[in-house]
């Protein structure tokens, strides 16, 4: 780590001693901070048995599991549909027909510039759709447009000679795409695609705001229960590790894929994208 930065030299013995001192001091500060938070939690009676007892009941466990299932269901629908929409929009943007290209560019730019929540609320409130389809549709429109850009960047990232060679062999555009460009582009963009799915997974929690019975909603139901002395903090302490853990697993998977693809001989002609959501400024590039 230290030898891969332009910031400072490899520290000598004196600097190392000083860094150790800083390290000890900052560890103490951080531990004090953690201790203070724990003290606040205890002081606030957040660890009383009444507040934690609801998690012992089967009904409540089932409620939480059902919420988790609904979250995963929305995620599954949204990811499959947005991959499909992304493929369609990317095909449109790479089309030879100007009208198709314009329409898909317009759609992609519009849906990328709009907050997901506005789309979800519009579909839910104005079009009076059920909560799950509204959530899935909103997520699909947004993530599909972003994925379209990811696919397009991937196609453009493949070395130009690859496409030219394929055309020179007499392949048609469809053949060049399906046999030469797309397989390499997908390999290169796989980490970015998975990272975009992490965004979709995180955004399923927006379903909470349109009263879709997902994980957070289940948590809120338990948290507002007077019988258990409003166990809000315990609920947060149970729900967030599960949510964050799921997203983290998927993020790590993306990083793992990125490392694997970078080693693969099949990505010689293309740069593998880093394992993070693509951040392109909207508007003309």
């Amino acid at each position: 780590m230290t030898d891969s930065t332009a910031l400072y030299d490899i520290p000598g013995p004196q600097a190392r001693r000083r860094h150790l001192l800083y390290g000890v001091a900052s560890t103490v500060v951080i531990l004090a901070l953690v201790g203070w938070i724990l003290y606040l939690l205890f002081d606030n009676d957040q660890f009383t048995s009444t507040k934690w007892s609801p998690f012992l009941y089967k009904g409540i466990q089932e409620l939480l599991l059902e919420g988790l299932g609904n979250t995963l269901k929305a995620f599954a629908y949204a990811s499959v549909l947005s991959l499909a929409l992304g493929a369609v929009l990317a095909t449109g943007r790479l089309s030879d027909h100007r009208a198709l290209r314009w329409i898909s560019t317009l759609l992609v730019e519009f849906f990328r510039a709009m907050p997901v929540l506005v789309m979800i609320f519009f579909i839910f409130v104005a079009l009076k759709v059920q909560a799950l389809p509204a959530l899935v549709a909103g997520l699909t429109l947004y993530n599909g447009s972003v994925l379209a850009e990811v696919f397009r960047t991937g196609i453009h990232a493949v070395a130009r000679g690859q496409g030219e060679a394929a055309y020179a062999l007499g392949m048609r555009k469809t053949q060049v795409m399906t046999y030469v460009l797309v397989p390499q582009a997908v390999r290169a963009m796989l980490p970015a695609i998975i990272s975009q799915l992490v965004v979709a997974l995180k955004d399923t929690s927006l379903g909470f705001l349109i009263t879709y019975e997902e994980f957070l909603q289940a948590g809120k139901l338990i948290a507002s229960n007077l019988d258990y002395d409003l166990p809000f903090i315990p609920v947060v302490l149970v729900i967030s590790p599960i949510y964050i853990g799921m997203c983290m697993l998927l993020s790590w998977f993306a990083t793992w894929v990125a490392r694997r693809e970078r080693r693969s001989p099949k990505t010689k002609a293309v740069d593998v994208a880093p394992a993070e959501p693509q951040t392109l400024l909207p508007g003309p590039q």
């Binding site: 780590m1 510039a113 907050p115 506005v118 929690s205 948590g219 983290m248 951040t279 508007g283």
Partner: protein, 214 residues
Amino acid sequence: MDVLTDNFSLYAEGFLGTVELTVYASALALVLGFLMASFRVAPVGSLRVFGTVWVTVLRNTPLTLLFFAVMLGLPRFGLVLPFELFAVLALGCYTSAFICEVLRSGINTVPRGQGEAARSLGMSFTQSLGTVVLPQAFRTVIPPIGSTLIALAKNSAIAGAFSVTELLGTYKTLSELGYNIVWTFVWIAVGYLIITLTISVLFNVLEKRWGVAR
């Protein structure tokens, strides 16, 4: 069209609310992100761990969950602040993790030789950082910072659902007043487009002015 002209003050209030949220949260995110990025590249182990945990956890937290925890959780510790402040806190902390990563990868794009050359000229740590490394890093991070801040502006819509005055929240009042819901949303969408495109244009100008292809 009536929806906008009849309720211009309501829309303007919501629009300004969103702008305010975006500006304050961006400032917080930039400051915190810079702090966390300097933690993550520090030669001190515990600070590095702290920065890494901060970034990993916040990047993988759904923003709704963070809002839920901050807006409804902190008041239980006797910390009663206006909702706007809670929203700025949640948005700012969430975005700071992304800003931190952008800044860190910006620093990593500066070739090692630059820092080595600066030091071999006898520059101190502050000098080499301030006049050699950071200016070069700054040029490469302009576009990704821009798109992170655009994401922040869009995410501020979530605050509206937690009873903070902002643009998306105006739809509730308007639909209660019986206005055409589709047109209500059209004008909300226009409002968001104005904000995101303004940030986009701003950063494109910055990029033209300072960005250097390397």
